[in-house]
Amino acid sequence: MTSNAIVVEDLHKRFGDVEALAGIDLEVAEGTVFGLLGPNGAGKTTAVRVLATVLQPDGGRAEVLGYDVVRQPEAVRRRIGLAGQYAAVDPNLTGRENLRMVGLLAQLVRSRILPRAAELLERFDLTSAADRPLRTYSGGMRRRLDIAASLMQRPPVLFLDEPTTGLDITSRNELWEMIRELVNEGTTVLLTTQYLEEADRLAGRIAVVDEGRVIANDTPEALKSQLGSTVVEMDVRGNGRAHDAVRVLSVRLSDRVEQEGERIRITSERGADVLIEALRILDDQGMAPDALTVREPSLDDVFLALTGHHAEDKQEDKQPELATSKGGAA
């Protein structure tokens, strides 16, 4: 039996009227990546903050490597790394100075701090920028340094709160690669994300979080099997034409066809074939879509499948959607 690095039972946290955590249960096996998937305001960040001893929960229990986050926070802090949503680094310090400060505060032996910093700078490809103040770094470089800082004390458990939000695709892919390397070395990673693709690529298990509750907890494969691999969306505008199109498509396609206003959504396992077939069927009827999108399933599709409603952000200041849903027009 593999042991659990993180155990969460019935965790509650309330901010005024908002119930950020409404009873969360989780178990994360040692040496695995666990993804917390949900929209802004679902409670992902609150959960991570409680686990990282930054916030006190109102109720329930959470343990990291057997240590209680409320009663033994010091023991937890010695074993975790946290890289938050907003790169928590000092913009006035250089990369090396930031790592040195974190090394001191992590109570590392002084003689090991600078070698460890140099090692991490090298690993995160920041050696040439190591002695420049962080304000000159790009967003991707800052994020890498932030994660490097969280690794100074070689934590066996790493929390990554939306590590790739706001990053371009190249930086994101590099970061994914680094996370995989860490896991290969035995680190347990708890990752929050708004992107199904990210959770799918990295995590061995995904918990979907909505309004402070876990609404699904499964392997990515099992979650996606409810979704299909391809989503085709067509807009068919004008007096009831969408309804007619859906009727024909439902009869002749074996895939799931849904209608939402003038938009038709086809979810399929068959990749691009479904698109060709759907267009042929419409063409036979003398119809053609006014707009057409082919993409992979997104968080929103997961939500739609699990809850029947769209993933709604609970915050106004939502970050711009990353290009994880590959939009391709035919």
């Binding site: 930054v54 010091e74 946290l82 928590a88 400060m101 505060l105 992590a106 109570q107 800082a149 070689r154």
Partner: protein, 272 residues
């Protein structure tokens, strides 16, 4: 179901016996804040230019119009202790700006998740601001000497006066640590500070004699912390009875620290 911590590989890099661990944490935070002052010199320049302008303005523009009653020394000698004190009072806003910037940037979250002394963030910030104040006040002394300021007592009077200004500066730093953590936003901290500080600095004995003010204002102006500190420093460098003012000023400093340090610490624990 929960695991034991047997397989934790994180202990080999750890110094198990750091006798002054908290001191090292405070050192790390102090140094980090001082590097910011060195690397973003405008932080320091703006906290220096304002008092220099005040020296020049009051020495050469308003000074001629201000008549001192019953004092055996010129206006510039009256003015400089007021300048030192108002410099550290306005300078304390930097503590609020620094801490609220850290709250906003997410750095506090990192600090809260590290196995560091809980006291280090506030102690290191106020320590760095104290060191900055030493630098700025020494600079103001040089400016003072250049525009004709002279000491009428001795070097011990000057050192005691400087130490008192530093203690007052440290106490004010904790007031503004509280403000910074309470508002959590540098712009708001700055905007909130001025309306509070202006009456403290100007309705005081820093630039004019309290006797020149209306009677109702004199009660406030005579007893508030800026005035008693200015009067104590003045007595220490210009001569005259010192004990009463120094005692009052020390009482204010200690009182401010006793009230605001616990509030700031409490706010810090909640700040993420």
């Amino acid at each position: 179901m929960s695991s034991t911590a047997v397989s934790v590989p994180a202990t080999d890099d750890r110094d198990r016996r750091i006798p002054f661990g908290a001191a090292r944490d405070i050192y790390a935070i102090t140094q980090r804040n001082l590097i910011a002052y060195r690397r973003v010199p405008q932080l320091l320049v703006f906290s220096t230019i304002q008092p220099v302008i005040f020296v020049l303005m009051f020495r050469y523009v308003f000074g001629g119009a201000i008549t001192l009653r019953g004092l055996p020394y010129p206006y510039v000698d009256f003015l400089m202790p007021g300048i030192f004190t108002q410099t550290v009072v306005f300078g304390a806003i930097a503590t609020a700006i620094g801490l609220s910037t850290d709250v906003k940037s997410g750095l506090m979250e990192r600090f809260h998740s590290l196995p560091m002394a809980r006291s280090a963030v506030l102690a290191g910030r106020t320590m760095a601001d104290l060191i900055r104040n030493v630098f700025v006040v020494v600079l103001m002394m040089v400016v003072g000497f250049l525009v004709g300021w002279r000491i009428h007592t001795n070097v011990f009077g000057l050192i005691s006066g400087a130490l008192l200004v530093m203690l007052f500066a440290y106490a004010m730093s904790w007031v503004f640590a509280t403000v910074g953590l309470a508002v959590g936003d540098p712009e708001t901290a700055q905007a909130a500070a001025f309306p509070v500080l202006a009456p403290l600095v100007f309705a005081s004995s820093a630039f004019v004699q309290v006797e020149s003010m209306p009677a109702w204002l004199q009660v406030f102006a005579r007893n508030q912390p800026v005035s008693v500190t200015v009067s104590a420093v003045r007595a220490l460098v210009n001569g005259g009875p010192t004990a009463i003012y120094v005692e009052h000023s020390l009482a204010w400093c200690i009182g401010i620290l006793v009230v605001f340090a616990p509030i700031a610490v409490r706010l810090y624990r909640r700040a993420v």
